[in-house]
């Protein structure tokens, strides 16, 4: 067995990499959030003024709360649609199951920007949805109602993040041994009973993981709101991004990002607790 000192030396050598690349940058931006930028000149006196500004100004804090609400909506919509899909794919057999899963997962690899672009063109003024509704006679002329509002952001996010929900739920379902379902059936349970009492509780960890993914992705996304939300689709991600661009107030942006970081961390911890409470 290696000695104490050499173990610590190896630890220092190996751990230095992720510490340097991940922990140090996060620490730096958290530190920056405690300073002030005054007319583009940094004032290195520690202060909580950035946080005070964020929580005190409804423009920012309201946007933050609105974003949280949007995240929960995206999460709920994704689970509501993704769970039945994962369940359906899981119920299929053999190669059909594999190909359906592939269809569900391949979008995960497709460029985010490309998906956004094509979805936007579908929702847009001369997009597929408008054209179709005109075709059936519901709409008279091309409409903009599907684009540049919060609803568009919600739908687009739910669609884009769908594979992140389907995959973990499917994997959780697949881990349920067949014999458990047979045992439930054998003991006289109906299909609904088996689903409610066996399948659903056992697939909960995967569902929580999927929910967490969508929540965190929606929380920090600043491109989707801009592309399909227009001027009304303001999220905290967009506000932060603007502080590093046009507004050019890094410390304030960093403070808001710190709140975002803690929110995401809280989500991860909560999901972790919820998953470990499952007795599996």
């Amino acid at each position: 067995m290696a000695g104490r000192l050499s173990r610590w030396l190896v630890f220092a050598g190996v751990a230095a990499i992720p510490l340097l690349l991940v922990v140090a940058p996060i620490g730096t931006f958290l530190a920056i959030s405690m300073f002030r930028a005054e007319k583009h000149i940094m004032n290195y006196t520690p202060t909580v003024a950035n946080y005070a500004e964020f929580f005190g100004n409804w423009t920012y804090f309201g946007t933050y709360l609105g974003t949280i609400l949007l995240c929960f909506q995206v999460m709920a919509l994704s689970i509501l649609i993704g769970y039945p899909m994962a369940w359906f794919i899981w119920r299929q057999k053999g190669s059909r199951r594999y190909y359906l899963l592939l269809l569900a997962v391949v979008p995960l690899f497709m460029s985010y920007i490309v998906k956004l672009y094509t979805l936007r063109s579908m929702l847009g003024l001369n997009g597929l949805i408008s054209q179709m509704l005109i075709g059936i006679g519901i709409l008279e002329k091309p409409s903009q109602i599907f684009l540049f509002n919060q609803r568009a952001v919600l739908i687009t996010m739910a669609v884009i993040y769908m594979p992140f929900v389907i995959l973990p739920i499917f994997l959780a379902l697949e881990r349920i041994p067949r014999s458990l379902l047979q045992a439930s059936f054998d003991l006289g349970a109906s299909g609904w009973d088996t689903f409610r009492r066996i399948v659903l509780p056992l697939s909960l960890p995967g569902t929580i993981a999927g929910a967490l993914f969508t929540f965190v992705l929606a929380l920090g996304d600043f491109i989707t709101p801009q592309m399909v939300g227009g001027t009304t689709g303001f999220t905290i991600g967009r506000v932060i991004y603007s502080q590093f661009g046009l507004a050019y107030n890094w410390p304030f942006g960093a403070a808001m990002a710190a709140v975002l970081f803690l929110t995401a961390l809280a989500g991860i911890v909560l999901a972790g607790i919820a998953m470990s409470r499952q007795k599996i």
Binding site: S179, L180, F185, D186, L187, G188, L202
Partner: protein, 348 residues
């Protein structure tokens, strides 16, 4: 007859896993389906349980045709090979699952669960989760869950396969005791002939999707009817031969041996002699043989030999204790002998 399989068969596409077979199971009996893997024994169990639909034939229970009845309606419960305990439920919740989904709530259902846990000796562990139990305890939970609804038939799919040898022997006794106590029919699947012999009222020996022989453990042990059964039980020494025209002798490459009971002349037969019925030394029938291996096994000593006249014919002889002072060693030339009355004759 409680349960009757009538010309039941099973095919998957072009492969037949079960030839049409008929079988009757009496009320309250402990019936074992015994065979090597791929013999179709588990398929029979799944057909009875309702997890698979037969390709042909009918399944009748108490006079009713239940062939098309789904598993959740059949009054049978199964103990699965991997126990199939619900990991997110406690022992008591697992045991109470049947009454729960059958909407039998209330105090009497709770009492039933308590009683059942008492029977299997798990009352103290009722609030544990399956992950906190040992293999034997999991086995008991699976059994409790299956018997709590008082099914007419309990199906057990190799339930002891995952346990170690000493625990397996304990559980064999335990299962037998439970069966006597609740007076329910058990249909038990195993590939272990010792387990089958010690536990069963009747054994169905299966091979390659067919029934080889049905009978009591003693029937199968002392009167096997096929080469497969003779070879499957207890390391029989088999000698190939033909019944002489006179019908009172078997002619083999090792010599002519008298028959205890007359048989039809000209039949190809196998003469089977149990290892414990063979001796080393002169006797009524004596065959010269060379010792290959002597293995001391505690209560008995196992001697492996081959016939001098036909080295491909092997003998397995068990001598009590350390061999009663017979100092044998590999390479010794001796005689193996047996009493014709101890030999079974199986049509080949």
């Amino acid at each position: 007859m409680a349960l009757e399989l009538n010309e039941v068969s099973k095919r998957y596409g072009a492969t037949t896993v079960l030839q049409p077979l008929s079988l009757e199971v009496a009320n309250g009996e402990f019936l074992t389906l015994l065979g090597p893997s791929g013999s179709g024994k588990t398929t029979v169990l799944r057909l009875i349980g309702g997890f698979t639909a037969p390709s042909g034939g009918r399944i009748i229970f108490d006079g009713d045709d239940i062939t098309a009845m789904p598993a959740n309606r059949r009054p049978f419960n199964t103990v699965f090979q991997d126990y199939a305990l619900f990991p997110h439920m406690t022992v008591a919740q697992n045991a109470g699952y049947g009454p729960l989904v059958q909407r039998r709530n209330g105090p009497e259902a709770r009492k039933l669960v308590d009683e059942t846990l008492e029977i299997v000796g798990l009352s103290a562990l009722r609030d544990r989760y399956p992950s906190q139990l040992s293999g034997g305890q999991k086995q008991r939970v699976a059994l409790a869950r299956a018997i709590v609804c008082e099914p007419k038939l309990i199906l057990l799919d190799e339930p002891l396969a995952a346990l170690d040898a000493s625990l397996r022997r304990q559980m064999q006794v335990f299962l037998k005791q439970i069966q006597r106590r609740i007076e329910t029919t058990f249909v038990f699947v195993t590939h272990d002939q010792d387990e089958a012999i010690t536990m069963s009222d009747r054994i169905v020996v299966m091979s390659q999707g067919r029934i080889e022989q049905v009978g009591t453990p003693k029937d199968l042990y002392y009167r096997p009817q096929t080469r497969f059964v003779a070879g499957f039980f207890g390391d029989n020494n088999l000698i190939e031969g033909v019944v002489a025209a006179s019908g009172d002798r078997v002619e083999t490459r090792l010599g002519n041996f008298p028959l205890a009971a007359p048989a039809a002349g000209g039949c190809k037969v196998l003469m089977g002699v149990r290892p414990e019925a063979m001796r080393i030394g002169e006797g009524a029938i004596a065959i010269p043989a060379d010792v290959e291996e002597v293995m001391f096994g505690g209560a008995m000593t196992r001697v492996l030999l081959h016939a001098v006249a036909a080295p491909a014919t092997k003998f397995d002889v068990r001598l009590a204790g350390d061999g009663r002072g017979q100092a044998l060693a590999a390479g010794d030339r001796v005689c193996v002998s047996f009493d014709p009355a101890d030999a079974v004759i199986v049509a080949d």
